[in-house]
Amino acid sequence: MSEKVGVYICHCGSNIAGVVDVEDVAKFAGEQIENVAVSRDYKFMCSSLGQELIEEDIRKEGLTRVVVAACSPHLHEKTFRRACANAGLNPYLCHMTSIREQVSWVIEDKAVATEKAKAMVAAAVKRVELHEELEPSEVPVNPNTLVVGGGITGIQAAIELADAGYPVYLVEREPSIGGHMAQFDKTFPTLDCAACILTPKMSDVGSHPNIHLLSYSEVEDISGYVGNFHVRIRKKARYVDEEACTGCGICIEKCPKKVVDDVFEAGMGYRKSIYRPFPQAVPNWPVIDTESCTYFERGKCKACEIFCPTEAIDFEQQDSYIDIDVGNVILATGYDLFDARKVPQYGYGRLANVFTSLEFERMCNASGPTEGKIVLRDGITEPKSVAIIHCVGSRDENHNPYCSSICCMSALKFGHLVMEKTDAEVTSFYIDVRTSQKGYEEFYNRLLEEGMHFVRGKAAEITDAARQPGEEGKLIVQAEDTLLGKQRRVPVDMVILMSALEPKADAKDVGLQFGISCSMEGWFTERHPKLDPVATMTDGIFVAGVAQGPKDIPASVAQGAAAAARVQGMITAGTVEIEPIVATIHEEICSGCKICNNLCPFNAIEFLEDKEVSYVNAALCKGCGTCVAACPAQAISGAHFNNDQIFAEIGGILYDAIGGNGAKAPAKSKEPAPA
């Protein structure tokens, strides 16, 4: 039985009708394409009247297929599918073709545009005839959530979910949660103390009955799909029995081995071999660093064990694995700081008094290595002049093209702190000062009032090679002052480099592990940059915080909360619909060659040993169709994009080239232009 196709050509006001002769296209469809039962043009198909037109035709004319030639399917496919469903037609029997974005908006010649529109309508009709009824499947959503990363973003997301009554697993790689924010002293623009606002949240996490905190742990493996992920977490050996340890800290006091702390103190201070990153750490059980511990190096010492009052030290401890089931995942894995050594002309690592922003944060922090005193690398001398260099590794085509977004405000904050704690003059070398959030511009004005100097120009070099009187023993910042149009040499005692924020070194691996994509730089890609900023293209995986792109604390917290809200929505709904655009393997045709098995990046294809055929797990399949194209036996069929449908579409779209649908006599050997 042949199908009854309804064709609807939208005018889109004058957007389409201004260029395409819509009546002619409708007439063409009705008269020259087989199986078209109804062909209409209408001012606005997406309006409720337009939709009703379709619904009525389905009911009255008994249409079995619908084609809407209008805007891009990315805009209104859902609208028209819903209209079909309202009238009792399976929504997947409707097809849209984009005669606005691909025709009327990009072609000026009316006749040519009309011809192209006809070809596209012909293709749509040919294709839709072969559409199959599809049903989205429904799966339940596990109410547990995995939050990866215990910085302020992850903390916020975990607390929001836990407070709403849902269980959360919070996984943190380091021994304590807190992230970068725990390293900071003050936060801009209000200058409230970072620890004062962060530590209450950290202890909330530590004591919340709904939060399972897994610190010093990493996600080893994740499988499953939205609503039903299985996650294996590796809990790294702490060599401290968490049950027995009271966190008294005697072991740390007695440990004889002191090493530079590259993580929490950013290389500015020391820690013991058994340590917790900072006194307010959550959880507060210490960790033994096996790389520096004397016992692990030489087989003796055990000072910590000897002094531990609760016998909590366990040198034999091994990594352990925990398997959990969760419904959704929030990735809040944060960032790394750009290695300023990659800009050798700034001398970091070579010139003692060149510091990175993170080092300076630690220096300002009252619990940091200098107890909050701003001093040179000798640990004693207070600087009399400080230069702050913006955009180190950002907005620089040699390194990262993007703006790191937070550095201008951090630089202003540093300027304020230097002037508050010392008598030093502060000069900032900037490209642009970007202060675009609430209260930020006011803070900039405040610093201008306070007397911070601003030189508009990217520093060319920082050198200790004195050239003029007054430069001896100083660091000289050479820069072109682009407002004066002059080269300037500014001798200072201390330089702070505002290093760029970079994606975590392993961000791309993490992306691959969780099945989400990264931008060229390595930031996680959100589903839509404006309208869906925390979801990803993989259902059930959400991103938040700097892992998605550079942003400050307020924005990170907002994203953490937003991701939590999205997850709550999923949990409350209870079930989730899975798009039926998936691949299926016909067992009787499959030869079991396994070519497809390794093609699938989502591990949706497994080999059934007993039947010796491959099998697609529909819940894991995302419908890309690569396996369909690769199967040598054509045993795999991709729903909604199967070979027959696409062949029909090719035939339709070339209807005027050769008798694709018999609508026109095949052309002679010299093919005339479509116009």
Partner: protein, 165 residues
Amino acid sequence: MVDERFEPKIVAFLCNWCSYRAADLAGTARIKYEPNVRMIRVMCSGRVDPTFVLKAFALGADGVMIAGCHPGECHYLEQNYKAMRRFNMLKHTLKAMGVEEGRIRLQWASAAEGVQLASAINEMVDQVRELGPLNWAQNWHEDGEVEAAIQRIEEEHAEVMEVPA
């Protein structure tokens, strides 16, 4: 007399996530480009079976473009790499069949690259216009066995691709 220059027909397979959105963007930005290209949406450039390309040529296309996300930005993680590999083999095969390399093009276009997609299309249309009509379809049509010939291609293709047990 009107200009009788040859207007090639080009079929483009666009991936749903980047390239089709680039085409949407070209439209929204009102970037005018050659009308000779006709687009077919697939979910991923990895879905483009070489048979699609052969079919398009057989049905009268003078050129075929495959467009996908940039390497490393595939919505399906890495399937565009598979498209790339397949494309290289296909180019080789087509060459053996006497189809000029310029008639087939693999184009990366991110959702933000409407301009780039449009200029790639223009470039390709110019190139194919230079090459002239392919006329595959006519060859078979004169035999009066279009469908049979096409069917043969598919069968031969399936045979060639079959992995011996």
